[in-house]
C-alpha cells in the first residue's frame, strides 16, 4: 500500500530529492521533511473527504507536475506586467514561477524598520522571526496541500511590521506563472508577521502569462499581534488551464482585526482556504469574497473560522456570479470552542446563476461548543432580477448594459467592503472587465479562446 502510494506520488518524491536544499538551515529541512512525510502518507484528498465533497482534485493528482523552471530572466513581461501593477502601492515584489525576481520588483520607500522581502532571502539571513513563525500555525495534518507546500518551501513573500507601524499604501506581491510544455507546479510560501498595534494591507495577486498547465499551491501564514489591523487581499486571475490552491491561515491576538478579501476570477480549478483562528479576546475578523466563474471553471471557497476566545466576532460575506458551465462552492465552517463565550459569528453567501448549466453548492457548517453565542448563516441563489432589468431598459439602457450594471452592483457589495482605496479601485476596474456584458469584445474573444482550450473537460467528470 505504501509502495503504491509512493509510486503514485513518484514525481513529487523525485522533485523532493532533487530539490536544491543544501543551503537551507537544519530547522527548515526538518520542517520540510515533516511536510513531505505527511503528504506522502495522506496523498491528495478525494470527494469522500467531507472538506472536499464538492471539489474533485483527481485532475491534479493524476498530472505529473514538475517543479517550475527558473524563468526570472526570460524577459517576456513588458506591458502585461505593467497592467498588473496596482497604482498607489507601497511596493510590489514580483515572483516568477515562485521565485523572487528582484529586477522586476519595485521596493518602494518603506520605513527602514519594516521588512518586506523574499522569504528565501530572510531564510539565508537567518532571521529569528522566520524560524519562530514559519510553519507554527499551519495544520499540515488536516490538509495535504498544506503539507505539500511545506515540503517545498523555498521562496515567497515575507513581511515584518514592528510594533506600532502603520503603512497606509498596500504592500503588493505579484506571482506570475509562466507555463511551459510540461505541467509545472509552484509552492509559494508567504509569511506576514504584524506585531502589536500595526496597520497594513497586503495583496497577493496570481496571474499567468501565456497558457499551459500550471499548478500553484500557495500558503500564507499571517500573524496579527494585539490590536493590529491587517487586511489581506487575494486576487486569482490566472489562465483557465491553471490549477490554483491557496490557503490563508491567520492567527489573531487580543483585539486584533483582520480582514481577508478574495477575488477569484481566473484559473480552471481553484480552491481558496481561509482559516482564521481568533486566539485572543475581542478579536474581529471579516472574510469577504467575490467569485466569478464562466466556461468550465470550478471555484471552491472553503472557510474555517475558529473562535477560540471570548468576545470575538467574525463576518463572512461571499458573493458568487456563475455563468456557462462553471461550478462554485461555498463551504463556511464555524467552530466555536468551549471557552469562546459571547461569540458573534455571521455568514452570508449570495449567488447569481446566469445560465442553466452553472452550478453552486453552498454549505454552512456550525460547530458550537460554548453556550452563550450568536451564530447566523444564510445563503441565496437566484437570477438577475427581470423587474430591475426592465426598469433600467425602460430608462433607455440597453439590455446587455443593464445586465452588466446589475452584475457590477452585485459584485460591488463585496468590493465596497475593502478599505484600501487603491486596491478597491483597481479591483473595480478589473472586475468590470471580467463580468459578462460589461466589457464588450475582450471578454467574448477570451471566452471563445477558452472553449477551444478546454475540449470536453469537466472537472467533476475527471477521474
Amino acid at each position: 500500500m505504501a509502495t503504491a502510494a509512493t509510486e503514485r506520488l513518484r514525481n513529487y518524491l523525485e522533485a523532493f530529492h532533487s530539490f536544491g536544499a543544501a543551503q537551507q538551515p537544519a530547522w527548515l529541512r526538518a520542517l520540510r521533511e515533516r511536510g513531505f512525510a505527511r503528504f506522502a502518507e495522506a496523498g491528495f484528498p478525494t470527494t469522500r473527504d467531507e472538506d472536499w465533497r464538492f471539489t474533485n482534485v483527481s485532475a491534479i493528482a493524476q498530472t505529473p507536475f514538475q517543479l517550475a523552471r527558473d524563468l526570472r530572466s526570460s524577459g517576456v513581461y513588458g506591458e502585461t506586467l505593467d497592467a498588473c501593477r496596482i497604482p498607489g502601492a507601497a511596493c510590489q515584489l514580483v515572483f516568477v514561477n515562485g521565485r523572487f525576481a528582484a529586477q522586476l520588483s519595485e521596493l518602494g520607500n518603506l520605513p527602514e524598520t519594516v521588512k518586506v522581502a523574499s522569504l528565501a532571502q530572510v531564510i539565508t539571513d537567518s532571521s529569528k522571526s522566520v524560524e519562530a513563525h514559519l510553519g507554527s500555525y499551519l495544520n499540515i495534518e488536516r490538509d495535504a496541500f498544506c503539507a505539500l507546500n511545506t515540503a517545498f518551501i523555498e521562496d515567497g513573500a515575507y513581511v515584518y511590521l514592528p510594533r506600532g507601524t502603520v503603512i497606509e499604501a498596500p504592500i503588493c506581491f505579484l506571482f506570475i506563472s509562466l507555463p511551459g510544455h510540461e505541467p509545472e507546479m509552484t509552492n509559494p510560501r508567504n509569511l506576514v508577521v504584524a506585531e502589536d498595534s500595526t496597520e497594513a494591507s497586503v495583496v497577493e495577486d496570481y496571474v499567468s502569462l501565456g497558457s499551459g498547465i500550471s499548478f500553484s499551491n500557495a500558503v500564507t501564514e499571517l500573524v496579527a499581534g494585539e490590536n493590529a489591523v491587517i487586511s489581506h487581499y487575494l486576487i486569482e486571475r490566472e489562465d483557465r488551464q491553471a490549477y490554483n490552491v491557496s490557503t490563508l491561515r491567520t492567527q489573531q491576538a487580543r483585539s486584533s482585526n483582520v480582514s481577508s478579501h478574495s477575488v477569484l476570477l481566473g484559473g480552471g480549478l481553484v480552491r481558496n482556504n481561509v482559516h482564521p483562528v481568533l486566539a485572543g479576546e475581542g478579536g474581529e475578523c471579516l472574510i469577504n469574497g467575490l467569485f466569478i466563474g464562466n466556461g468550465r471553471q470550478h471555484i471552491d471557497n472553503y472557510m474555517l473560522v475558529e473562535h477560540a476566545s471570548p468576545h470575538c466576532s467574525s463576518r463572512q460575506f461571499y458573493n458568487g456570479i456563475l455563468d456557462g458551465r462553471s461550478h462554485g462552492v461555498f463551504h463556511g465552517r464555524i467552530i466555536v470552542h468551549k471557552d469562546a463565550q459571547k461569540t458573534d459569528a455571521k455568514q452570508t453567501n449570495r449567488n447569481l446563476l446566469l445560465s442553466d448549466d452553472a452550478q453552486i453548492d453552498t454549505k454552512p457548517q456550525l460547530e458550537i461548543y460554548a453556550d452563550d453565542v450568536k451564530c447566523t448563516h444564510g445563503a441565496t441563489i437566484g437570477q438577475v432580477e427581470e423587474n430591475a432589468l426592465f426598469y433600467m431598459r425602460s430608462r433607455g439602457i440597453e439590455e446587455s448594459a443593464a445586465r452588466g450594471l446589475l452584475l457590477l452592483a452585485f459584485a460591488n457589495e463585496c468590493l465596497d467592503r475593502m478599505k484600501s482605496t487603491p486596491v478597491r479601485e483597481y479591483l473595480h476596474e478589473l472586475v468590470q472587465g471580467w463580468l459578462p456584458g460589461t466589457s464588450s469584445r475582450g471578454r467574448t474573444d477570451r471566452d471563445e479562446a477558452v472553449e477551444r482550450q478546454e475540449p470536453g473537460r469537466r472537472w467533476e467528470e475527471v477521474g
Partner: protein, 254 residues
C-alpha cells in the same frame, strides 16, 4: 402629426385578452387622462406602451411620432422619447440614483448621436430636478429606490422624468398611495414639465390627481376599450356617478 397613435390595440397577458380594441390619439402639448375601474386594462396599456415583453400584442398598431412603437425594445422606446413612471418603482441595490440616471441620460444621448455627459456636467442638472421635487441631496448616492418610502419612490420617478425630458410621458397610477402633500409636490413637478412639444398621459384610478394636474382630455376605460371621452369635467362626473354610469349597455352585458 400625432405624438402617440393607438389603433385597435388588442393585448393579452398569459393568454387572457385584456385590451380589446383600444383607440387613442395624443397630440403634442396635450395632457390626457385614462380612468377606469380595477381590471379595466389601464396598467396593461401603460406596460404595453413601455414595451414590457410579457404583454403580448395580438392585434393593432401603435405609432410613436410616426414610428412603429410595437417593433421597439423598451430601451429603444425610451430613446425615441417615451417614458413611463412606474406604479411600483423597482429597487436596485448597489447602483446609486446618480449613477443610474447618468447611465440612462447617456444611453439616450448616445442613441441620438449627442455627446455623453460626465459627472461634473450631469450633477447640477440632477440636483436642480431633485430640488423641484423637494428631494434631499442624500438621495443622490442612495441605491435606486432602496429603502425609499412609497412617496419618495413616486417623487423619484418624476425626478427621472424631469431629467430624461421625454416627449411622451406616461404616469401609471403615480398618485396611488400618496398623501396630499406628496401629491402636490408630484403634481407641481409634472405641471412644470407641460410644454407645447410634450404630451402626458395620466393613468389613474382616482379623480383627485386631476385637481392638481388638469387634463385636456379624459377617457374612460372599461373592459379593455375606451367607452367615453370628454374634457376635464368628465372626471368629475365619473367621481359623482361611478364607472357604471360610463359603461355602455353592450359592455356591461358581457
Amino acid at each position: 402629426m400625432a405624438l402617440l397613435e393607438v389603433k385597435d390595440l388588442h393585448a393579452s397577458v398569459h393568454g387572457n385578452e385584456i385590451l380589446k380594441g383600444l383607440d387613442l390619439t395624443i397630440n403634442p402639448g396635450e395632457v390626457h387622462s385614462i380612468m377606469g375601474p380595477n381590471g379595466s386594462g389601464k396598467s396593461t396599456l401603460a406596460q404595453v406602451l413601455a414595451r414590457r415583453e410579457s404583454y403580448e400584442v395580438t392585434r393593432g398598431e401603435v405609432l410613436l411620432n410616426g414610428k412603429d412603437l410595437l417593433a421597439m425594445k423598451p430601451e429603444e422606446a425610451a430613446c425615441e422619447g417615451l417614458f413611463m413612471a412606474f406604479q411600483y418603482p423597482v429597487e436596485i441595490p448597489g447602483i446609486s440614483n446618480a449613477y443610474f440616471l447618468r447611465a440612462a441620460v447617456n444611453a439616450i444621448r448616445k442613441y441620438r448621436g449627442e455627446e455623453e455627459l460626465d459627472a461634473i456636467d450631469f450633477l447640477p442638472l440632477l440636483k436642480e430636478k431633485m430640488r423641484l421635487l423637494e428631494m434631499d441631496e442624500r438621495f443622490l448616492n442612495r441605491p435606486v429606490n432602496e429603502g425609499f418610502s412609497g412617496g419618495e419612490k413616486k417623487r423619484n420617478e418624476i425626478v427621472q422624468m424631469a431629467v430624461l425630458e421625454p416627449k411622451m410621458a406616461i404616469l401609471d397610477e403615480t398618485d396611488s398611495g400618496l398623501d396630499i402633500d406628496a401629491l402636490k409636490i408630484v403634481a407641481k413637478g409634472v405641471n412644470t414639465m407641460r410644454s407645447p412639444d410634450r404630451a402626458i398621459l395620466l393613468v389613474t384610478h382616482y379623480q383627485r390627481l386631476l385637481d392638481y394636474i388638469v387634463p385636456d382630455f379624459v377617457h374612460v376605460l372599461v373592459d379593455g376599450r375606451i367607452v367615453k371621452s370628454g374634457g376635464k369635467e368628465l372626471a368629475l362626473e365619473l367621481e359623482e356617478k361611478g364607472y357604471g354610469w360610463a359603461e355602455p349597455a353592450s359592455a356591461a352585458a358581457r
